[in-house]
């Protein structure tokens, strides 16, 4: 063995100007290759001084390189995968799959495994696959010519190979434009397969994202009767409790015992009617309860004990064994002032002052009564939400209402001793109502506002050229799944050094597409790759008291 190795090594020194088909001996010699990579030549000298020492060092480097560069890729047949280059499709079809690369490289379609050109060439370069074309195994030189260039630019391949060699997992950029900005922010896009989303076509159907909602609507509209039983059952505890208030004392122990009695009165096995409802999620039920309780409570009072008998008990929780603490009983009750009528849509009437128990839960005995009073308010509200009919500036939802309230408070300076300051043309920047904290005042005084280009890119002109993100990059991770890659750690787009620098609009556009994943710009200068990124920086708001 040693002999043949030596021979091969000697031969490597001899110039070989033709393509090297290794002899059997040389092939075997490649098993014993030195797998180390020489370090970066040590400290460099200032300038050549013609000394022998320098010359020796240089020649040492040269001979090392000659040997290292002449080495060929040799592997056992058993370790090599095989693929066929399909020129018309621009893909390589994997016919023999060996090794581990399939975990993170390649895709399958209709039961066949395919590689993109850059993936196939990279695997060839890492000595993992043989690619055939017309029954001929391709050399890497041929692979460069045939597979790269048209579909994948050389620069793109170089960036792909550069990052892949470092161990990153790269997949072609999967466009996120089928997902809304909001969906991306809450990472919904990771859980919905892209294919499914494209099939669905429009992403406007937000309803689809809450299937339970739809389900609930159907049941409420079509089946009235099961709902009633549900309500009956749900309202019972409340009613029971309100009864207890009158009779029993307030201690929690007493509470649970009385619950016990109420439970005992329920007949067993009355679930047959409820079977259809069991599928519905718990959340659904609760939502429904919230909606329905309002106006049904009164009816239940009349129905009395009879309804108890007909109602079924399908709750999994056995409340007889759970002692529920009395968390709300002795809490303060705060009053919410009547909302400003002029900001409410027409048709909304608020009669009473709302009383809210500020305890975290309202599990106390007053719940039934309070529920009733709340529902009295709500049941009468038939808001006219068509704002265009209303000449006044009114709110249609809570967010708008709060905004309008804030605006109103600001305008209302009448009770202020400095009201006269707002009477002229020039008014102070800060209002007394702003004096909530230092930051609020400072933000008022900021004449030139920061804008986030990412959110307000519509103000920018169209980019002068179109460019798309090339790859999604994932950190090396053994748990990576091609089918569900999740959110990439980075995204990369590729630029040539000779191309003009991207304009602001393009940078913002791509950053926005990539958001919230950082976007890197790989700039390729004749084989040298450097990475740049453009990020928005927030100026620190620094204030001292």
């Amino acid at each position: 063995m040693m002999d043949s190795y030596d021979i091969a090594e000697e031969e490597d020194y001899s110039p070989r100007m033709k393509a090297a088909h290794l002899s059997a001996q040389e092939l075997l010699a490649h098993r014993n290759l030195d797998r180390t990579v020489p370090p970066r030549g040590g400290t460099k000298d200032y300038a050549p001084d013609g000394s022998l020492e320098q010359e020796e060092k240089l020649q040492g480097m040269y001979s090392l390189y000659r040997r290292m560069l002449a080495e060929e890729r040799v592997n056992k047949i058993g370790n090599l995968s095989k693929a066929i280059w399909l020129e018309d499709q621009g893909l390589a079809e994997v016919t023999v799959d060996k090794g581990k690369f399939w975990h993170h490289i390649g895709h399958s379609n209709e039961g066949k495994k395919y590689l993109y050109p850059e993936e196939a060439v990279f695997l060839m370069e890492t000595n993992a696959i043989e690619v055939y074309w017309n029954k001929l195994p391709l050399a890497i030189q041929q692979a460069y010519a045939m597979m790269l260039g048209n579909r994948v630019s050389m620069e793109q391949y170089q960036v792909y190979a550069h990052l892949s060699r470092l161990g990153y997992i790269l997949i072609r950029h999967q466009s996120r434009e089928h997902f809304s900005w909001y969906e991306r922010q809450i990472q919904l896009d990771e859980y919905i397969p892209l294919k499914q989303r494209i099939k669905e076509g429009s992403s406007a159907q937000v309803r689809d994202w809450f299937p339970s909602n739809q389900h609930e609507e159907q049941t409420t509209s079509t089946s009235g009767e099961p709902d009633k039983t549900e309500e009956v059952h749900r309202d019972n505890p409340a009613r029971q409790k309100s009864k207890e208030v009158k009779s029993a004392s307030d201690s929690p122990v007493e509470h649970s015992t009385s619950n016990q009695t109420s439970r005992d009165s329920l007949p067993k096995g009355q679930t047959s009617r409820m079977e259809g409802r069991i599928e519905q999620s718990v959340e659904d039920e609760q939502m429904e309860i919230e909606c329905n309780r309002k106006d049904k409570t009164e009816k239940q009072e009349e129905k009395g004990v009879d309804s108890l008998v007909t109602s079924s008990y399908e709750c999994k929780w056995d409340f007889t064994n759970i002692s529920i603490p009395n968390v709300g009983q002795d809490c303060d009750v705060s009053e919410i002032p009547i909302p400003c009528a002029e900001l409410l849509p027409t048709g909304v009437q608020v009669n009473n002052v709302l009383k809210i128990n500020t305890g975290a839960f309202s599990l106390n005995t007053k719940r039934g009564r309070k529920g009733k009073s709340n529902s009295e308010h709500l049941s009468k509200i038939v808001p006219n939400l068509r704002a265009e009919d209303d000449p006044r500036k009114v709110s249609r939802n809570w967010m708008e209402f709060k905004k309008l309230c804030g605006a109103k408070r600001e305008m209302d300076m009448s009770d202020s001793p400095v009201a006269h300051l707002w009477q002229g043309e020039v008014t102070p920047l800060v209002r007394p109502s702003d004096a909530t904290d230092m930051g609020a005042i400072l933000s008022r005084l900021q004449v030139i506002q920061n804008i986030s280009l990412e959110k307000e890119c519509c103000s920018l002109p169209k980019p002068d050229r179109s460019l798309d993100i090339a790859y999604d990059v994932f950190l090396p991770d053994s748990h990576f799944k091609k089918s569900k890659p999740g959110r990439p750690n980075l995204r990369v787009c590729v630029q040539r050094f000779s191309e003009p620098a991207p304009d602001l609009a393009l940078i913002v556009q791509l950053n926005q597409r990539s958001s919230p994943v950082p976007l890197l710009w790989a700039v390729v200068d004749n084989g040298d790759i450097s990475f740049y990124s453009f990020t928005e920086a927030d100026l620190p708001t620094d204030y001292h008291m």
Partner: protein, 304 residues
Amino acid sequence: MIDLYLCHGHVYVWNASAACDLRERHRIVGTFVGALPRLPRQNVRLGRPLQLMPEETTLLLNKGMARLLDGNIPPKTGEDAAQAITEHRQQSFREQAEICKSDRKRKLHEMASVIAKGRAAKRKKLAQKEKADDESSSSVSTSDVISSLLDQHGEEEEPRLSVEEMEELEAKLEKTTGYNEQAFLVQIMTEQDSEETQETIPWNYPTTDTEALRCRVFQDLWEKGYFLTSGGKFGGDFLVYPGDPFRYHSFYIAVCRPRTENMEALDIVRLGRLGSNVKKTVLLCSESEDGEINYTSLQWTGMN
């Protein structure tokens, strides 16, 4: 003559010895862009192909040191070529099997003494076991002691395999013909092998004035004995090395500017700053009317 291949607008050198010659003899450095076969998953040292800058290509072609070939010619196809490849592989497999066999034979001879020792030890063990069986029936006699002493004496002598034993082992080796097909080695070619002579193709660079100036400057500095690499990372056109970049740092950042172009003072400050920050001198390179390249060096000096 060195073969350069033009492939999708880039120029590559695929032959290892040609790539080394370019550097050692012609001071053309280029950039390696392929994975290194011995350790493909790292970026410290890369391997073939060597990618050349357009200026390097122009220089090599102008000086007649290389020729440019079309790198996009598809490989020969057809049954013959496929047949040739298969035959070549089969031949290689037979040779590999042969080499492996002779390799093992040699090893057998090397290990002969070890095998002999092992066999002797085994024989002795067996003998002792038999003896032990005997001893269980009869008491220890003086003859046993003597024989064991003799045994110890015998061990000092190197046990050897007899000629017959050796032949028997070799015959056993010969019989093993079935090598696992999957264990044979194959090569993924780096360079394509083209027997037929290829026509050279024209090289269309430079096309603009800026490119022409870059080529002229590149050639002039190269003729002065410098090594040059791309200067993009340092904000110039070229980096100029006094010797091989393996061993020396670059002296200059060459910035090509047309002679007639006005430069603002701010540009000069910018370039001066750039050079001084990386301890290099900025060279402003331009071409005079009579075709000579003029160099202006910028150095940052302070005044106390």
